[in-house]
Symmetry: C2
Subunit: 193 residues, 2 copies
């Protein structure tokens, strides 16, 4: 069968889910497709671009319209949808964070957050800055949460290894705390209606 970009991204996502980002190499990917490593370079100019395509596929998991009527509700919904999309794949947050940092992935997501902030009444510059601030938080927090998730499922707890030790807020509650912090801050930047 012939190789195309979609098949390559499919296979890459499978390796990501099964073995993690560290094992997602061009050679391993080629092997899993039954192809020589060089073949991948017919479809993608380099690894960075290939990873960006995988990141955009992960981000496709947050498509669809948001339901909330007010801007704060819409941003909250977008933030949770982004987090859910990242958590749906092993190392999804780290992958997307690095691909978005290179600007090769996620321009639509960025645009969507910025547009929603602009709808709230912010001028374009402030809307972009607010969107970026939100994105730094979502990517940073989720990346952190996800990596610690995998450390725990392996064995890396030096003290307090008792099974009933950690009773703080849930990951979702911790995420919501920082998110509301940001949105409250954004509210103070709004022109009085």
């Amino acid at each position: 069968v012939q190789l195309d970009r979609t098949a390559v991204v499919d296979a890459a996502l499978a390796i990501l889910d099964d073995y993690g980002l560290g094992d997602l190499t061009m050679r391993r990917l080629a092997t899993s497709l039954g192809v020589a490593p060089g073949a991948l370079y017919w479809h993608f100019p380099n690894k960075q671009t290939l990873l960006a395509a995988v990141a955009d596929r992960v981000l496709a998991g947050m498509a669809g319209p948001v339901g909330a009527a007010d801007w704060a509700g819409r941003l909250t919904e977008l933030a949770h949808r982004l987090r859910d999309a990242l958590l749906a794949h092993r190392d999804g947050a780290e992958l997307v964070a690095s691909a978005m940092a290179s600007r090769l992935a996620g321009p639509l997501v960025r645009e969507r957050f910025a547009q929603t902030a602009a709808d709230a009444g912010l001028d374009p510059v402030r809307a972009e800055l607010t969107a970026d601030t939100l994105l730094y938080y979502i990517l940073g927090h989720t990346s952190d949460e996800q990596s610690r998730m995998h450390l725990d499922s392996a064995g890396a707890l030096p003290d307090t290894a008792s099974p009933l030790a950690d009773t703080g807020p849930s990951p979702a509650a911790r995420f919501a705390f920082g998110l509301e912090l940001l949105l409250d801050g954004a509210r103070t930047r709004l022109p009085v209606p």
Copy 2:
């Protein structure tokens, strides 16, 4: 002369400043020290730990007492000091972000932000969450700013290559915007005094 951890970190920092994080390899570092690659593994168990030591050295650049009397002023000062420390070395933000994510570097910095937030009147859990939210922002924003700095000093501007195109807010102003956003949000979380 004998090798020790300090000399290794010195040499690593020199490579970082001159050639960037991508060229900071164990082999290159060994060569610059006039030593075999294996020698480094007598002083550090692996590359990750070595990079954490370099990150902690970068973070040492933000030591010293803060002057402000109120908590918001202290957090603002800490945030700017952290940003300045990161910008003082090529790829400093990316290095520190990744080393702090691994939890091998920066525990004192994290502790310092959390303590300052606690002084504002937040309970320990909220103080930690607020500190983390701030750190995600500072590391994400500065990393972004710094990488784009280096893209510009090379040649990677597709359109609007005219020298007088980009007249938005300065990097420092952009940083301050998100920072104030976060601090305003934190204020709403405070118990009324």
